[in-house]
């Protein structure tokens, strides 16, 4: 609405500037005409600047504008002949009135106030213009002033309502996000509290002691992951999207493995997408691989790295520095479950596996060609 007010003011000022030479020649009081024209230009620019800065039309601004429009309309008999008063070349009060309708309709929020303002403006205009050679035009014009105010008021009310709904939706989303965050914290703290409580007791059983130590290490990694800036993505949400982002599929897949020393480097593929029908497959395959790392690898680093191999084809590598295995002698299911690997290949992905005992495991998944 502010933009509309500024635009209308600019149009009004341009029209007025065009009318000034003609008006100065035909006015009954060129001096008053000139003075009022200058005042109108100043008033319009002040109002536009004020509205622009405040990002809204205040009730005070609307009333001031209404008063000014009434003043210039009422002053018309002092500087124009009755014949000129229905047109706008000399007596431009109607133009000022039209410009004021938007300010009044927008700035006065209560219907009653806007209605009263419309009545005042129309009455002043009628009073000044009825005694001209064209009383019918004067009546039509005054009805137009009322109509413009009503239209502006309705549109402004509708936009306000829309904005309020948007604000409510935004607040609801923020509340939901806050609640989800609190839930994450609860889940995290719940597990860690148990580990800490167990650690605080003295245990004479070395097996339990060792197991607790492993759990404590995993707990510390979970807390670290929580404190980090890891991208958060829920599998359900990601899988429900059309062609989800690769970064989200990866984030959702690693979410259950915060006990592992995982690094996700996906800055090179921020816009890469996964075909909708293959997203679940890929997510499952990454999880399977990470399960294997958790169970067998004893890795100190696991890195998931995405890169582009051409404009829209990406490649994801999953590399750990753990125990590794001999692909020639170890069943394939060890590194990458047979089903996961075959299903990915069937879906058009290329899967490469490279490992040796003591050398960690490197797996590369390349997206199918084409979008």
């Amino acid at each position: 609405m502010v933009i509309a007010v500024v635009a209308i003011r600019a149009t009004f000022c341009a029209q007025l500037a065009l009318a000034v030479p003609h008006g100065l020649t035909n006015s009954t009081s060129p001096r008053l005409f000139g003075l009022l024209s200058m005042l109108a230009l100043a008033e319009s620019s002040t109002l536009a600047a004020f509205a622009w800065r405040r990002r809204r039309i205040t009730a005070a601004a609307a009333i001031a504008d209404l008063a000014f429009a009434c003043l210039v309309i009422a002053a018309e008999p002092l500087y124009s002949s009755p014949a000129d008063r229905v047109g706008t070349w000399v007596a431009w009060g109607f133009g000022a009135g039209c410009a004021a309708t938007l300010t009044v309709g927008t700035g006065l929020r209560r219907r009653r106030d806007a209605g009263a303002a419309a009545a005042v403006l129309a009455a002043v205009y009628l009073a000044v213009s009825a005694a001209t050679p064209h009383p019918a035009t004067a009546v039509v014009n005054s009805v137009a002033l009322v109509g413009f105010i009503a239209a502006a008021h309705l549109v402004a009310a509708f936009l306000r309502e829309l904005a309020a709904i948007a604000d409510q939706a935004r607040a609801a989303a923020a509340r939901a996000a806050q609640e989800a965050e609190r839930e994450r914290q609860r889940r995290l703290l719940h597990d860690q509290a148990t580990v800490l409580a167990l650690l605080s007791h003295r245990h004479d059983d070395p097996v339990l002691e060792a197991s607790l130590r492993i759990q404590a290490a995993a707990a510390s990694r979970r807390v670290r992951s929580f404190l980090g800036d890891t991208r958060i993505a829920e599998a359900d949400v990601v899988l429900s999207e059309d062609r989800p982002l690769l970064v989200d599929v990866v984030a959702a897949a690693v979410a259950d493995f915060t006990d592992l020393p995982i690094t996700v480097n996906t800055d090179l593929v921020p816009h890469s997408r996964v075909p909708s029908d293959a997203a679940e497959l890929l997510l499952g395959a990454i999880r399977t691989l990470l399960h294997n790392v958790r169970r067998h690898a004893k890795a100190t680093t696991v890195t998931l790295h995405g890169d582009l191999i051409d404009d829209d084809r990406w490649e994801l590598s999953i590399i750990d520095d753990g125990a590794g295995f001999d692909p020639a002698t170890t069943p394939v299911g060890y590194g990458l479950s047979t089903q996961a690997g075959r299903a990915l290949t069937d879906a058009g992905f290329a899967v490469a596996l490279d490992s040796a005992p003591g050398e960690g495991t490197r797996i590369t998944i390349t997206a199918p060609e084409g979008p």
Binding site: R221, T263, N265, T266, I309, S317, I319, L353, D354
Partner: protein, 230 residues
Amino acid sequence: MNPDADQQATVAVIDDDTIVREGLRALMPMHRVTCAFEHHSEFLAERPSVDLVVLDLNLDGVGQAATRHGATAIADVRDAGYPVLIYTNENRRLVLAGCLAAGADGVIHKTQSLQELADAITAVRNGQTVITPALTGLAEAIDRYGHLPALTPRQRQVLAGRARGKTFRRVASELGISEKMAHEHMSAVTTKFANYLRTHSPTDLERTLGLAQGDLLHRPTVEESSRPSA
């Protein structure tokens, strides 16, 4: 006689956690922790003679304030003439990048092994910059977006391998170079990366990483990315 005597560094530890201060004294392989302080101001008051400082990124508070606090400590210790290795639980990449920008010579996580810490101390003592795997990924992204000053093809290959999580041994064998050479190439990369961070604001960094697809200036060729064979 200690066989590693020429590699042994004297280290000061600054950490508000007693266990870390006492633990590193007792457990540090290779190097000698000669003194430990709870706060960097105590260290600066005493200014002991050590080769380098292992500094906990002490986060008093959260967010921006914490980052500023950490940066001040790093700058103060660095200005006193000591190389600084950040030893932290902090995991946010931009905060860690901020440490390098503030003058730290290296960053290592508390979850990494003591051997890795000892290796990092050796590297920093030798004038190299040490970064975490996640920061390696960040360095690769910044290079790819064309913002790291001219890496050589070899340096870029080593960086690509390390960002993917490959060990130095693996990278070296894939490129047919010695492990020592691989370390040296990576060291040149981290130095350029740290210099980039020191001359650019966090906003620059975020803007760089927020660039749209298509702004990538360099893509490694198939040989460069040295992907594993099936």
